[in-house]
């Protein structure tokens, strides 16, 4: 079983990386970009039967810092 964890900065948390990407896109002539926010994708290869609770615990205890980040779990069959 696989799970993909998307970690993103919460709204209101400054993202200098996203801003730099935005700036670079504009430099390439892409004018239609309103905003860029960068995040992380973490792919987990899990033992079958790993509980949702455990996956959530992994996110809360390590993969995301919930002071500044949100996470979304996507289970892949």
């Amino acid at each position: 079983m696989k799970a993909r964890i998307f970690v993103t900065l919460k709204g209101g948390v400054l993202d200098p990386q996203g801003r730099a990407i935005h700036h670079a896109l504009e430099g390439l002539g892409f004018d239609g970009v309103n905003d860029v926010r960068a995040g992380k994708l973490i792919e987990l290869d899990l033992a079958d039967g790993t509980s949702d609770e455990d996956i959530d615990g992994m996110c809360r205890k390590l993969l995301a810092n919930t002071v500044i980040e949100n996470y979304r779990i996507e289970k892949v069959a």
Partner: protein
């Protein structure tokens, strides 16, 4: 007075911090490896040094905060043992929940490495007793992720309880309310981005950091 300095893979200010502890206390600190699960008995002071623990993987300080030794550090802090986290050490302390908030990437996107002016906001703490309230001092900073972030309620609480120990006298990295160093609620844990251990002797070109270590050790010895 017994002190310890924690060493993670990627720490690079551990020896400087050990020299600063020894200069103030007159005894060498014990260097404790990140895999150790226990700290020496009767420890009075723990240093969590700067550097790039675990290569800053995942988030700065995130892996170190979950290392075996940090559980022992958290238990010691609970018992009232003093803990000083500098730079990456501050990041480790926020990641481990010993201090509130988080350190984000510098607002300007750049690694900042230079001397900065700081204002001593709270001169009553064990760490700042040799400074005067409102005094301006200078420590070097050297970090990429020093932009202190916490929600407004937390910031208000920190300010209301006198837990902002140090502030930048200028906007260095985008930190909320120019916060450079904060205390926990009991006042026995201090996390700060600037490096006092880099300005403790004349050969460093400045000695503003020496009073932090001298005052801290003096207070701890008086307690013992």
């Amino acid at each position: 007075m017994k002190s310890a300095v924690i060493v993670f893979p990627g720490s690079n200010c551990d020896r400087d911090l050990a020299v600063a502890f020894e200069a103030a206390a007159g005894a060498k600190p014990v260097m404790v490896w990140h895999r150790d699960t226990e700290l020496p008995d009767d420890i009075d002071l723990i240093g969590v040094p700067g550097g790039f623990s675990y290569g800053d993987y995942l988030r700065s300080g995130a892996m170190a905060a979950r290392s075996p030794v940090m559980q022992a550090v958290a238990q010691a802090a609970d018992r009232g043992v003093f803990v000083l986290g500098i730079c990456n050490g501050f990041q480790v302390l926020t990641e481990s929940g010993l201090l509130p908030g988080a350190l984000l990437r510098n607002a300007g996107g750049h690694f900042v490495c230079r001397d900065v002016a700081l204002t001593v906001d709270n001169a009553q703490s064990a760490f700042t007793s040799r400074y005067a309230a409102g005094e301006t001092i200078s420590y070097p900073v050297a970090h990429h992720d020093g932009n202190y972030f916490a929600d407004d309620a937390t910031l208000d609480r920190l300010e209301g309880e006198g837990r902002v120990a140090l502030r930048y006298a200028e906007n260095v990295n985008g930190s909320a309310r120019n916060i450079a160093g904060i205390l926990n609620d009991r006042g026995n844990v201090l996390g700060m981005m600037p490096h006092p251990e880099r300005v403790i002797e004349a050969a460093h070109g400045a000695t503003d950091g020496k009073r932090l270590f001298d005052g801290l050790v003096e207070g701890l010895m008086a307690r013992a």
